[in-house]
């Protein structure tokens, strides 16, 4: 099944998550009203390293390159990113 751009989101991973999931990015379908938190929970059900997305360690969320919360509602075309707490500077 092909998803049109309007019904899909790009999901990106960074740093430790990117390494442990062995994944830079995914294109996933998005359903109306779906939140970043729901997407995260869905990914966690993949098991293995993915389970940590809903584990003890905090996961930060960005939507369209701005910090977001689990409750942020997603739309087709959005870029969603999941990453560990930042440690720059």
């Amino acid at each position: 099944m092909t998803e049109s751009h309007q019904q899909a989101v790009t999901v990106r991973f960074f740093a430790r998550l990117r390494e442990e999931l062995d994944t830079d990015s995914l294109i996933l379908p998005v359903t109306p009203g779906m939140t970043a938190g729901t997407l995260l929970a869905e990914l966690a059900t993949r098991g293995g390293a993915w389970a940590q997305l809903c584990g003890d360690q905090p996961v930060m969320i960005a939507v369209n390159q701005a910090m977001a919360k689990p409750g942020t509602v997603l739309s087709g075309g959005d870029e969603v990113a999941f990453f560990p707490p930042v440690t720059g500077g």
């Binding site: 960074f14 740093a15 430790r16 960005a62 390159q65 990113a81 707490p85 720059g88 500077g89």
Partner: protein
């Protein structure tokens, strides 16, 4: 102006550019962060810095705007390096020009504290025994909250 770059920067040249910010400037505060042994691991040789291209620049630019709303900021400059860095290398530069010294200190420290907790950079320590992602320090979160 905000730069994310692999190459080193010349703090002297950055200072000179900041100074050229008009007759109203009475105070220039600069912060430079260097790679040091964090003390968490033995035998640290250096760091690898990853970032989220695009978002990083956007977040820092919002921090500079917020600082400019809170204090008199005539000119601000932020440089953050990414990629592989060795001990004592420069990582980050924040420079602020203001009419008054209190504003210059506060704006510079605010940008730096907020960058630490909200700009998407991640550090991996490279030690003689391998690599290790650095965990966020609760002291950085607390320091950033003091500005809220």
């Amino acid at each position: 102006m905000i730069s994310i770059q692999q190459q080193d920067f010349d703090s002297g040249a950055e200072y000179a550019a900041l100074r050229d910010s008009g007759a109203g400037t009475g105070a220039i505060v600069t912060f430079t962060g260097l790679v040091r042994d964090s003390g968490d691991l033995e035998g640290v040789r250096g760091l690898f810095l990853e970032h989220y291209p695009g978002m990083t620049e956007q977040v820092i630019s919002q921090l500079v705007e917020e600082a400019s709303r809170r204090w008199d900021v005539r000119k601000a400059r932020v440089i953050h390096r990414v990629g592989e860095l060795l001990l004592s290398d420069q990582i980050v530069f924040v420079g602020v020009c203001s009419a008054h010294r209190g504003d210059a200190f506060a704006a510079c420290q605010y940008i730096m504290d907020a960058l630490k907790t909200s700009a998407p950079f991640w550090k991996k320590e490279i030690t003689t025994d391998g690599e290790h992602w650095v965990e966020q320090k609760s002291s950085d979160l607390e320091q950033s909250r003091t500005w809220e």
